[in-house]
Subunit: 300 residues, 2 copies
């Protein structure tokens, strides 16, 4: 079996497993959006290295290529769809230095989900069920592929360990992710990051955030990021101001948020990174039939 066929089978299996898991848990699958007047600003993470947002002009409107479906997810929840997921290509025009990270692509597909009135713990148990399930099912259904790729996928169980980023920084330094990921044998949660305006800051404890990353073990790094969301209009506006984002660029979102949004929590995870973890691929680009690594020429 050629490696590319093994990766393709693992990708297909992962897509089927994830979609059926969310359908089975009562989620409504929405269609992706690729072009919109608004998209995820992907800030103010100081590690962000997206060099620009992809944009086109169509009939007099400037439309941005989707960086993530976060704002559309919140709008969909607001329109009464209580449990939703979307499998959407995300375009993030990364700096070519990201080629070396092993885990960045300028185009990948994200499974993005959102749950009205949910809290962090709801997302933790949903995702732990998914990660344990997909690993189990991959071991059972894709044994020839794992064997071809030389991958012994270690066993682990829910619940996953939880650490605040403050604890992780104290132990591993500011760039805690690679070392913490290498040292863990099980996926784990990293909780409370200062980041995008839409992740909820704990009103009782400013500087504490009701958000989370799920980190794969063995050095494979970030699996998912998500959070409870800011839903009160004044807080959204003050967070956008604090991040020095132009309000005009979010005007349709701000308009909808004026009466307050429906509180929700959710997350998003990259399919290619999940397949990389399951297959043990050296680089996330290795799992793509059509490779999309920043800094490498795009052949086809």
């Amino acid at each position: 079996m050629e490696k590319r066929k093994a990766y393709a089978k693992l990708t297909s299996h992962t897509l089927a497993f994830c979609a059926n898991y969310f359908h089975g848990n009562g989620f409504t699958q929405l269609m992706p959006v690729m072009l919109s007047p608004i998209t995820d600003p992907l800030g103010p993470d100081p590690g962000s290295s997206v060099i620009k947002t992809g944009e086109i002009e169509y009939l007099g409107q400037r439309l941005s290529l989707t960086q993530s479906m976060i704002l559309h997810k919140q709008i969909a929840v607001q329109s009464g769809i209580d449990r939703l997921f979307i499998l959407s290509p995300n375009v993030r025009l990364e700096h070519p230095k990201r080629r070396e990270s092993g885990r960045h692509l300028f185009e990948f597909s994200q499974l993005d989900f959102e749950i009205a009135h949910a809290k962090m713990d709801d997302v933790f148990s949903l995702m732990e069920g998914l990660i344990c399930g997909v690993a189990e099912s991959t071991r059972a259904d894709c044994a020839p592929e794992l064997s071809r790729l030389g991958r012994a996928l270690p066993r682990f169980a829910a619940p996953f360990p939880r650490h605040t980023t403050a604890e992780l920084i104290a132990r591993y330094g500011l760039d805690w992710e690679p070392a913490a990921s290498k040292e863990h044998k099980s996926p784990f949660w990293a909780i409370s990051h200062k980041r995008e305006f839409y992740d909820r800051e704990d009103p009782e404890s400013p500087g504490t955030y009701r958000n989370y990353d799920l980190i794969y073990p063995e050095g494979f790094g970030e699996a998912l990021s998500g959070g409870e969301r800011e839903w009160e209009f004044d807080r959204i506006m003050s967070r956008i101001g604090r991040d020095r984002l132009g309000k005009a660029q979010f005007s349709p979102y701000i308009e909808l948020a004026k009466g307050g949004l429906t509180p929700s929590a959710g997350g998003g995870f990259g399919i290619e990174r999940m397949v990389r973890y399951l297959s043990g691929a050296p680089h996330v680009g290795d799992v793509q039939l059509f490779r999309r690594v920043p800094g490498e020429p795009v052949v086809v």
Copy 2:
């Protein structure tokens, strides 16, 4: 129940049904590609009204937004993946006059599939199984939604009628599709269109094409288009020449085709048009939570 929730449920059900149908028939699901040096030229259909291809620049390369995955499907088959499908957003920047057709969007998701060494008849029976199955399953699982939308989804059975386009033109005139669609009670096949270079011309009978459209009944129009493919290098080159397409714009594809491609047949169908047909929506944009109708401003 609000209409948008009924449409969202029908969309979600359709996505799940279609993906499981292709997985169940031994297809490998590939990831979509949104940006590539090459994409479907969507020609030389005289009815084509795409005003331009969406393009961006990234690290010195011009990349086109996917108009369809056709060329990537052929390359994937060539790389040894024998039965594949992809659920991919397609961006087609249509002329604003298309707003009136009721069935055009400038962004939609296509389920694109391809089968190595297959013939037209293989695609007919695969698709007839899918269409009968999704209609049956929608009636069973989405009765409250169909009722909310006032839709009585008529019954029909495989095999579907087949007509050549020459027969259809003789009966309904050059613009046969709306009238023929309205008059039929069952989906039907329209066979042999002169169109894109990658659809195979019958070598025994020049001017006859081994391609097909599936047309929904009741005036809902085109469901799918597909064909057996040109796979011999000389024929591909002469067809590209006949369509007066710049060879440079397909150079990575032409390079791969030099030794001949793997013969294949396949097709692609829009999810939104399928949901429109199942739900009886007046306009295909009605089924979208985030409306993408050419000539209408994009709100969000």
